[in-house]
């Protein structure tokens, strides 16, 4: 939602919206987001971010965890951009 979108910061805690379900599909070799009568096939970076959106971790913690997992730095803007898009599409909400 717009108001949630406006206050996205390092302390925001994104969570998958209740209508959606994130799940790994072996037959497709990828994570998908399931919702009423629909499915979104996710690429690797989208699934890695969404897997960590549990409503408890902050955006800063999610970014740090991803940087650790993939032994890299400077993911902050990429993660923020994706979360902003996902909030707009209502895949995510902020707790």
């Amino acid at each position: 939602m717009n108001e949630a979108h406006g206050v996205l910061g390092g302390e925001s805690r994104p969570m998958i919206e209740r209508r959606f379900r994130l799940q790994f599909e072996p037959a497709q070799g990828t994570h998908v987001l399931l919702y009423p009568e629909g499915m979104i096939k996710l690429n690797t970076s989208a699934s890695e971010i969404l897997k960590r959106c549990d409503g408890r971790s902050t955006l800063a913690e999610i970014t740090a965890d991803l940087e650790r997992a993939f032994a890299t730095q400077g993911l902050e803007s990429q993660v923020r951009e994706f979360v902003e898009q996902a909030l707009k599409k209502q895949w995510l909400v902020l707790t």
């Binding site: 939602m1 209740r18 209508r19 379900r21 799940q23 599909e25 072996p26 037959a27 497709q28 998908v32 399931l34 919702y35 009423p36 009568e37 629909g38 499915m39 209502q90």
Partner: protein
């Protein structure tokens, strides 16, 4: 004909659990001869369908009918489907959904409920379904919210209710629906039989689209509205089923497996039955699923059309119904030499409207003799299928 390419998995499984239904809707897509089909699958047979299709990769599950709540093993099927990892959509009229059952379905792991309404008022809803169900459906809508299911409200649109779109959207909003499907009638099954009575005019369609757009602009609560355009008013066909045998698999009440819920009508094809074939054999090896895969079956103008990879030539059933040959281009396409048949069907709707409005100069000639609407009842099914005469 070259061998079709190996298909990906059947991502969507639609189980038409039964053809029994307390409603008698005039636009139902079920086959006209539904009452002639015998031998509904048992619980064990449905469980086999669910397990084998899931192993192939099916993940979106539709439980439909007829009215799926007529089956008293629905909760068992939902529980197993949930355990297997399906996203489970119950597609229902709401009849039979009391509080005990909705609680049991929640506990079993049902994900979402699509509730049908026939119109925004009791009078029209009850007339179009030939039942007194409007109040009941309204109570079911409240139960769906109470049990925190995402709710899709589905209304099939046609000439008799399309002018009520604004009231329908207001009703959906009041009920707290997350999604609304304004699904213009697709003409198969009973809708095909009643096509002359159900076809809207172009002015009606355009007005409904404009009303929907205005509603979107003023809505305060998030509610996604899908306006499914009636394809007779288009110039390019829908990418029906994303191509037959590409992602979609239907199992009907008697166990027949189809690449589309209307495909049983396609002549010259044998469709496998889950009683005698595994889901893997059905999906990958059967003629019924392989015949219209790929592009080998296409005729001109599709065969050389640059858009064939986008719309796959449209709908095989519509090509068959309107041209007599399922391998022809869907005549919705204005490149089809048979496009005139679609144009004529729309023109007849315009003529009928003119007669009703008294603006045809009093001749009424183009409208032809008005046939009555035929409701989807077992008796009508048997009569139209040549039984009981």
């Amino acid at each position: 004909m070259s061998a079709p390419p190996r298909s990906g998995p059947p991502l969507w499984l639609l189980c038409e659990l039964t053809y029994r239904c307390p409603l008698h809707c005039v636009f139902c897509y079920n086959p006209i001869d539904f009452a002639m089909q015998k031998g509904e699958l048992s619980t064990e047979e449905w469980l086999k369908v669910l397990r084998e299709a899931r192993a192939l990769g099916a993940v979106q599950l539709g439980l439909s009918g007829g009215e799926p709540l007529v089956r008293d093993d629905l909760e068992i099927l939902v529980a197993e489907a949930h355990r297997l990892g399906y996203y489970i959509n119950l597609i229902t009229s709401g009849v039979g959904l009391n509080e005990a059952r909705i609680r049991a379905l929640k506990e079993a792991g049902l994900d979402h409920i699509q509730l049908s309404f026939q119109d925004s008022t009791r009078q029209m809803n009850d007339f179009l379904s030939s039942t007194r169900t409007f109040e009941l459906k309204s109570r079911v809508a409240a139960l769906i919210k109470q049990y925190d299911f995402p709710m899709v409200l589905n209304v099939v649109l046609h000439r008799l209710n399309i002018d009520h779109v604004e009231a329908i959207l207001d009703m959906a909003d009041r009920m707290g629906a997350e999604y609304v499907e304004l699904a213009n009638t697709q003409f198969y099954g009973w809708a095909w039989h009643n096509r002359e009575q159900l076809m809207p005019t172009r002015a009606q369609v355009e007005r409904a689209e404009a009303v929907t757009q205005r509603f979107r602009e003023r809505q305060s609560r998030p509610m996604r509205i899908f306006f499914v355009v009636p394809d007779y008013f288009e110039r390019r066909p829908k990418a029906c089923m994303n191509g037959l045998g590409s992602i979609f698999l239907t199992v009907t009440a008697d166990g027949t497996a189809l690449p589309c819920h209307a495909a049983r009508m396609l002549p010259g094809l044998t469709f496998p039955n889950i009683r005698t074939a595994s889901m893997s054999e059905i999906w990958y090896d059967s003629e019924g699923f392989n015949h219209y895969r790929g592009e080998g079956w296409m005729k001109e103008p599709c065969r050389s059309c640059p858009e064939r990879g986008r719309d796959f030539g449209g709908c095989r059933c519509q090509a068959y119904l309107l041209t007599g040959d399922a391998a022809n281009a869907d005549p919705v396409c204005d490149l089809s030499p048979h496009h005139g048949r679609v144009v004529e069907a729309v023109a007849r709707a315009e003529a009928r409207a003119a007669v009703r409005a008294g603006t045809d100069g009093g001749t009424g000639a183009a409208a032809g003799a008005a046939e009555p609407l035929v409701f989807r009842t077992p008796d009508a099914s048997r009569a139209l299928s040549g039984a009981g005469r």
